[in-house]
Symmetry: C2
Subunit: 230 residues, 2 copies
DNA sequence: TGTACATCAGTGAACGCGCGTTCACTGATGTAC
DNA sequence: TGTACATCAGTGAACGCGCGTTCACTGATGTAC
């Protein structure tokens, strides 16, 4: 695999498709979905634009590949947050902890990688052609699993379960959006952290339908306050 | 004021600045912020691109004008929802009703006018240069006022007040985003309505920190179920 | 009331840019005999 | 093992597009006397 912009030795690239995908992902990371172009990706791979058409039907297909990459990295970021939690002990505490971890991963990815985050939701790219409810969006599936656990643990009453995935997704997505492209962009670190904590507390209470115990609130906050590189 | 594309009689336009702003708004409405260009606006106004430079310093200024228009219309849409509520009776019921109305106006505007909605949050346009917390974003201010009312009415405990505006904004913004550009786009009317109701209920409970009375829940749902053109 | 002239708001042609995409081509690879 | 040739993966030039922006200009407006 030859590195991005260096002139390569061989006439044949050897792995152009992957090189183009990597270039597209890097473009997305730097400049968002609008920066993902056939010409720029080819340039980064040290190749003529025409060559890209051997591997992609056109611009849209390349953009879609960039989006898939972005999704993968987001999923990985969420996994990192889950992985730092001990998956033992009281199922309610574990469930709420996982909820916080999943949301925190989502939010941190969005603010750390705004270009990739925007690419995940790039205009006009249908997330999938799945039935009514969007399946292969893995970040979403993580939310679903966490909520199911919370039902099983007895925290989330079954009658409050329907559509709850949309609520948690919307909350964290909105928070991310406002922080990345919106007015919260100019807010300081502490304001954003406070907003994150309040939002998660409100959603947690709203899901359960009753106040949090002090213990659960402490758990929640400690997950949200975990430093990124310990 | 001559209409958009028709050839005008006089050499001087007479009201070109406003015509360009109106054209920009229409472009934004139809195609989002990316469609707002100097050339397209001039075309729609029946004028040479150069002429636009008599009234705007450049592209960015025109885009900003389109954004202001979009914001105004969004504010108006929210006012419509508030106006249909009787502002009398129990302050808690009124406060929660207003919360629902404000959010509903926001959400409906987003789904009814996705182009304008996206323009409100167009990339790279700082909402304002205000201090830490974003002032002239009027939709946001409506949320602040409603929350203050809820504190005064005794529904929202003062210690739960800080940052609550961010939470309600994030929830409804996320819901709107997921419905406009995201995976909820393909969901049916009923799914979206159900998601809206659940989200508002969860947020309302989370704000107050305790379950809703049946009466309040009924109020909330009835506001959210109001038909748009009665 | 009439005219000279400054000012203002447009025109029209042109610039350079990066894009997606297509064309006829050519250098490298690998397979059949 | 060696060679003819089909196939594959690139090249290079060109197309047309819409964009932002600038230039020297000209037609219309309105003000001073």
């Amino acid at each position: 695999v030859s590195s991005s912009a260096s002139t390569r030795a061989t006439y044949h690239h050897g792995d152009l498709r992957n090189a183009l995908i990597a270039a597209a992902a890097e473009l997305a990371q730097t400049g968002g979905p609008g920066s993902v172009t056939i010409r720029a990706a080819a340039r980064a791979a040290g190749v003529t634009p025409t060559a890209a058409y051997r591997h992609f039907a056109g611009h849209e297909e390349l953009l879609h590949a960039a989006k898939d990459q972005a999704m993968e990295r987001m999923t990985a970021a969420m996994d990192v947050e889950i992985a730092r939690l001990p998956q033992t002990g009281d199922p309610v505490r574990r469930g709420l902890g996982n909820l916080a971890a999943v949301g925190l991963g989502y939010f941190r990815f969005a603010t750390a990688e705004p270009g990739l985050f925007r690419t995940c939701f790039a205009d006009g790219l249908s997330v999938a052609s799945e039935p009514v409810l969007f399946s292969d969006a893995t970040p979403f599936l993580k939310g679903v699993a966490v909520l199911d656990d919370l039902v099983e643990a007895g925290y989330l009453p079954p009658e409050r379960r329907p559509m709850a995935e949309v609520t948690i997704w919307a909350s964290v997505h909105g928070l991310a959006m406002l922080s990345v492209d919106g007015p919260l962009r100019e807010a300081g670190e502490e304001v954003m952290q406070a907003a994150l904590e309040r939002t998660f507390e409100i959603v947690a209470v709203g899901l359960g339908g009753r106040p949090l115990t002090d213990e659960l609130r402490e758990d929640l906050l400690s997950v949200l306050r975990a430093t990124h590189t310990p």
